[in-house]
Amino acid sequence: MLLGPFFLIMGIIFVGGLIQALVQSLGYLPAFGMDSVSLEYYRRVLTDFRFISSLRHTFYIALTSSALSVALGVFVAFLVHKTKRSNKFSFTLLRVPIVIPHIVVIIMIFHIFFQTGILSRFAFAIGLIESAHDFPLLIFDRGGVGVIIVYLYKQIPFVMLMVISISRNIDSKYFQVAENLGASPFQIMTRITLPLLAPTILSAFLFCFAFGFGAFEVPFLLGSPARQTLPILAFIEYTSPVLDDRPAAMAINVIISVISLIMIWVYAKVLSILTKRGMEGAIV
């Protein structure tokens, strides 16, 4: 029952921060002599072309990276499971990318994928390209490839670990029953394993999505200057010397929080549907 105080503290920090942001987003900053309350800044943000394109870009990055992470993570997890060589060592190895700080991954990815990076030099050395400029722009690019690669590097092992450890907990009897009733290994995967893993996969997807949606340093360091994600937009507004931009930054933060809350709500909803179907056994 230590969960009570835990949620209390988490709640105070979250609600406190949110209220602060909410108050400021309404234009109430007495310290700067601003004390009129209005929805003006929301109107300004929501009609701002930069905000709309940033919102779209953020969704694109978060969705692409989380969908790819989950798809590849689940796929590789199954392959690993098949070969039955998922021993302690490989389990530890999987944890490495998860604990490496993002910044280190960013530098690694930069050195490998940038136009003057290792891949590019290799392609040049074997005569695939004639100069560094012929190498496709994967970092600072508008498609966010560099950013997505960093997320994949961190998240695929995370998804794999989750899927492997949960599928170990699924009663192996279900697989035997399915086989006994005539199912092929592929049918067992699609009809038993994947549905039983659905709640886990959903959790993993949401976790990845939330990170891709809210993370700052990765798109800040590897993203295209022309395509900013929401957190970066908020940061730029926040650090702007124009005083008026401060409430706008807060409005963006509130919008990010609201979107996150909606996602949590959707998650809980889907989870409860799955639970009703009796799949609680596989829920993390």
Binding site: D171, K173, Y174, Q176, V177, A178, E179, N180, L181, G182, A183, S184, Q187, R191, I192, P195, L196, A198, K276, R277, G278, M279, G281
Partner: protein, 345 residues
């Protein structure tokens, strides 16, 4: 219709030699029980037949053909597991449909079979329920339906009644017995419950310590066990020492036929209900204790030592009787019931 044989099958898990040289034949349409104590390898035997485990040596034949190299999903030997193992993410209907769907049978055909099976199992009203909303008996019928709808060549039942409460258990036993006769499916039931085995099947295979001890009719297993091991497992009995000579066994209670045994020391086995206690006929004895159990009363009686009878020491026997009027300390008479008494080593 399909017969089933296992031939000299051995199976070990590490150092644990679970099944030792088991051979068993089941005829087409027959209902056979495999009876043995917990952990004797009953589930393992079923898994070997179904192909979910591979034997270390020996062969499995289904319908006369060796199927050692046939994968489980193509053997047509379907197990109903001890804990039913219904898929939790599927409704009753989807569970029953599973084996049909993976075989790519047409939808209308599947629908027809499922409906018929729901009807047979009397669970039509539960078709859209998820397993966790079902009672134990309903779960079991779904598990049975899921197996039977495939019209398996061999149906394997793994202690299907042990998770049910007693009242329901009797109903389900009758239900399964009737179903088996109607469908005529070759069926093997494994259980540690002797009553269940005797009640349901024409032949019972007793496995103890990994060895097939005896494969016989329920009556022979009960009255004519080959060894004390089987006799003890099946039920309580009195054992009276004596000698065999010239195919005749003699002891304090008289002479008995021992046609199949060679000369030497042996024992007479008498179940508690194969002795009759009365006020007049038989050997005099004294009642030592009495335990009233409702429909029967178990008496412990003593026959005094007597050189003439060949009893160097007093003989204590236990008797079940429907007559509860005898009291400890009193005298009574006992005799062996007609044709009772079985000689074993």
């Amino acid at each position: 219709m399909t017969s089933m044989h296992v031939e000299n099958v051995n199976k070990s898990f590490g150092n644990n030699h679970v099944l030792k040289n088991i051979s068993l034949s089941v005829q087409s349409g027959e209902f056979v029980s495999v009876l043995g104590p917990s952990g004797c390898g009953k589930t393992t035997l079923l898994k070997l037949i179904a192909g979910l485990e591979m034997q270390d040596s020996g062969h499995v034949y289904i319908g006369g053909a060796c199927c050692d190299n046939v994968p489980a999903r193509k053997r047509g030997a379907v197990i109903v597991f001890q804990d039913f193992a219904l898929f939790p993410h599927m409704t009753v209907k989807q569970n029953i449909d599973f084996g049909l769907a993976v075989k790519k049978i047409s939808r209308s055909e599947r629908e027809r079979k499922i409906m018929a099976m729901l009807d047979v199992m009397q669970i039509s009203d539960k078709a859209e329920f998820y397993p966790r909303a079902l009672s134990g008996g309903q779960k079991q019928r779904v598990a049975l339906a899921r197996a039977c709808v495939l019209e398996p060549r061999v149906l394997l039942l793994d202690e299907p009644f042990s998770n049910l409460d007693p009242g329901l258990r009797d109903d389900m036993r009758e239900f399964v017995s009737k179903l088996q006769r109607e469908l005529g499916i070759t069926t093997i039931l494994v259980t540690h419950d002797k009553e269940e085995a005797f009640m349901l099947s024409g032949r019972v295979a007793v496995i103890i310590d990994g060895c097939l001890q005896q494969y016989d009719t329920p009556e022979n297993i009960y009255k004519k066990p080959h060894t004390v091991l089987v006799s003890d497992f099946i039920g309580e009995a009195n054992y009276i020492s004596g000698m065999i000579s010239n195919y005749h066994f003699s002891c304090a209670l008289g002479d008995f036929d021992a046609a199949e045994l060679v000369d030497g020391e042996a024992k007479l086995m008498l179940r508690y209900d194969q002795l009759i206690i009365s006020n007049s006929k038989g050997m005099p004895c004294r009642i030592i204790s009495k335990v009233y159990k409702g429909n029967v009363t178990t008496y412990r009686v003593e026959i005094e030592k007597s050189e003439t009878l060949g009893l160097p020491e007093a003989l204590t026997l236990k008797i079940n009787s429907s007559d509860s009027s005898f009291e400890p300390g009193h005298k009574a008479f006992i005799r062996v019931a007609d044709r009772a008494g079985h000689v074993l080593r």
